[in-house]
């Protein structure tokens, strides 16, 4: 027998759980402003999530997927991407979306059951939230293929959960990214659970990063509760995708501190003890510890930030709640660029239903 190929998976981490450093930090970590930006984004995301859950509990929002505990992943992604890159998210990347300019009000609207929430004023080419798990991976490959064919120095970033790595369409997209050398970075938010299914029942692969080996490119792990590490590996991966057309898979190791969504009750299938244990490694406190240790962050800064975030989120929630509804005909007016003649009767019927209900929808 002869060895014909060998592979390795590496892991990057900088911050320990207490905010001290394990390794030499990347350059940007010397920049207080940048770290504060990351910190602020994580806190804003967490504030937003809490508000969304509260709105759902009081019947003013639909089912919602919080990113509690995973803010470093999504903020690290959003912070490293360029505006002209394209984000192809799953449904838990509000942190990245916010950094890219999707408004809080739009995100509320989406989860509030209003399609206009996906008509982002900001990143016009970003994909909307994707609910059917893993189906977005092929979209990201298509976007990256367009970049490649047009020779644009842009990168598509596809985010998915650990559960999504079991989907065949994700594998197909990765394989295409490998063979065509697409400017495409896959990020797996490994929060250890896919609703009630733990990582260990999802796959026998020792790491999720190694899924890339099947597609012929490299995968790596990163401490997903360490926003400095996430931002650093994302930056490197984006540069390699942009400049050398090397796709890459980044597995971010984190934990879903919340229920799967507001429709879920995680106590049915996992131990509260496990959850409280994992609170110790959560990303927001960790970066705060680091900032405080450097004297880059004070109690006053914290109070002001929390107040700012609360104000911003509350304002967005109010704007969302105050939104006027769409007319019933909105459901048919955007299906085709131009309404086919054959659908005019249906449009009239919908208009009549709208009128019957007293004008616009909810």
């Amino acid at each position: 027998m002869q060895q014909v190929a060998s592979f390795a998976v590496e892991r990057t981490a900088y911050l320990n759980a207490d905010g001290t450093c394990a390794e030499r930090l990347p350059a940007f970590a010397g920049d207080r402003d940048e770290l504060v930006r990351l910190y602020r984004s994580m806190v804003l995301t967490r504030t937003f999530d809490a508000k969304a859950v509260a709105l759902q509990r009081t019947g003013r929002l639909g089912t919602f997927a919080s990113s509690l505990g995973q803010e470093a992943v999504t903020v690290g992604i959003g912070a490293a991407m360029r505006p002209e890159d394209v984000l192809v998210p799953s449904f838990r990347e509000q942190g990245a979306q916010i950094l890219r300019g999707v408004t809080l009000e739009e995100i509320f609207a989406y989860w509030g059951g209003d399609e206009r929430g996906s008509d982002f004023a900001g990143p016009r080419e970003d994909f909307p939230i994707c609910v059917p798990v893993g189906t977005q991976a092929a979209h990201a490959a298509g976007v990256a293929l367009a970049f490649r064919l047009r020779r644009e120095p842009r990168v598509a970033v596809c985010v998915m959960g650990d559960g999504a790595t079991s989907k065949g369409d994700v594998y197909e997209a990765m394989n295409a990214a490998g063979v065509w050398r697409l400017p495409l970075v896959f990020v797996v938010n490994n929060n250890e659970w896919a609703i009630s299914v733990p990582r260990s029942k999802q796959t026998a692969a020792k790491t999720l990063a190694q899924k890339a080996i099947a597609a012929g490119f490299e995968g790596e792990q990163v401490d997903g509760n360490d926003v400095i590490a996430v931002r650093a590996v994302m930056e490197r991966a984006l540069a390699m995708a942009r400049d050398e057309r090397q796709p890459r898979l980044i597995e971010a190791l984190t934990y879903r501190l919340s229920d799967h969504t507001t429709a879920d009750d995680a106590r049915r299938y996992r131990d509260d003890k496990e959850v409280s244990e994992r609170w110790k490694a959560e990303p927001v406190g960790r970066l705060r510890g680091f900032l405080v240790a450097r004297d880059w962050w004070s109690k006053g800064d914290e109070e002001k930030l929390l107040a700012d975030c609360a104000r911003e989120v509350d304002a967005a929630a109010e704007a969302y709640l105050a939104r006027t509804g769409q007319p019933a005909t909105a459901m048919i007016d955007h299906v085709f660029a131009e309404l086919p003649a054959a659908m005019e009767g249906q449009r009239a019927a919908i208009a009549a239903l709208g009128a019957r209900a007293g004008g616009e929808g909810r």
Partner: protein, 326 residues
């Protein structure tokens, strides 16, 4: 005996089938300790163990293909798909394999499987969680398509589906999962898989539907009764093979038919029933066949959903229009 919801009745039927037949296994995402996102499999893993109630990886194409392999080995997998909108990756396996394994091997191998999924709208669910894809399955050769509309029928039809030697797609109107309770004796009695249920007598107009639309139809029938119009109601719980006789008989008497469903209108399931009436039933028709359906648009997100789903008023209005013809 306590009254059960539909989701409890389905659970009872699965549990009974598992008791009766060791080859029955339940598979799906979160069907184990979570009990399924709608709790249809709650308690089953505790009762039958992890080898018979199997949490799968998140892979819908796999679920259907696994069932084919298990079925070929004479197991009877009951596979839960989490939502209607996530069943599409299974279509390839259903149409290319499950529906034809018996035929292509001339009976050597077969596929005694049940594909379960919650379906339909009306619960203000997120995107892709309110689909009505029954046409896809009803159009596939070699596959039965079943949709219950009451706890009792759900119980009897589920038992029949599991015991049936061929593949059955079993769509469960999620809006009805907990909407009503009914006495459901756990007596192991299956219902036939190829007979419509005559739910209400009335010979002025025949209202036809299934699943969650049936409740809307019954509301409409009440509205109409208040106006002196006696509507007969048929629950087409077994869409495929379709019990044409029961529908034709009723329309022969009423001369008028309204078919209601949530699925998009064009090339939708009502078309088959209307076609039946335009064929064998033509000379009984006093009035045009009315289809009250979803529109040819994606199911809107919750804010506009109510304008999309057929409701009692739309159904009653259609019936009233038909009463204008004699």
């Amino acid at each position: 005996m306590t009254a059960l919801t539909m989701v409890e009745a389905i659970r009872d039927a699965m549990a009974r089938a598992m008791e009766e037949d060791p080859d029955v296994v339940v598979l799906g995402e979160d069907v184990g300790h979570d009990g399924g996102v709608f709790r249809a499999t709650e308690g089953l893993v505790e009762r039958f163990g992890e080898e018979r109630v199997i949490d799968t990886p998140l892979s819908e194409a796999l679920l259907a293909g696994l069932a084919v392999g298990l079925g070929a080995q004479r197991m009877r997998p009951v596979v839960e798909f989490q939502f209607d909108g996530f069943l599409y990756p299974a279509i390839d396996q259903l149409v290319n394999h499950a529906g034809r394994l018996r035929n292509r091997t001339r009976g050597r191998l077969s596929c005694p499987i049940v594909i379960r999924a919650p379906y339909g709208g009306g619960i203000r669910a997120p995107e892709h969680h309110s689909e009505s894809p029954e046409t896809f399955y009803a159009h596939m050769p070699g596959i039965r398509t079943v949709i219950p509309s009451t706890p009792r029928r759900a119980y009897g039809l589920m038992l029949a589906a599991i015991r049936d030697p061929d593949p059955v797609v079993f769509l469960e109107p999620k809006r009805l999962y907990r909407a009503v309770r009914e006495e459901v004796p756990d007596d192991g009695e299956a219902l036939p898989l190829d007979q419509c249920f005559k739910v209400r007598d009335g010979t002025d107009v025949t209202l036809v539907g299934w699943g969650a639309s049936l409740a809307r139809i019954l509301e409409a029938a009440d509205l109409l009764a208040g106006e002196g119009i006696e509507a007969g109601v048929i629950d087409v719980a077994t869409l495929k093979p379709l019990d044409a006789g029961t529908i034709l008989d009723a329309v022969r008497r009423s001369g008028r038919c309204v078919i209601a469903h949530e699925a998009p209108r064009s090339y939708g399931p009502a078309a088959e029933i209307a076609a039946l009436l335009a064929g064998e039933g033509l000379f009984s028709l006093l009035a045009p066949v009315e289809r009250v359906t979803g529109f040819d648009v994606p199911v809107p997100l919750p804010r506009l959903e109510d304008h999309y789903l057929p409701d009692a008023e739309r159904i009653a209005a259609a019936a009233r229009r038909l009463m204008g013809y004699r």
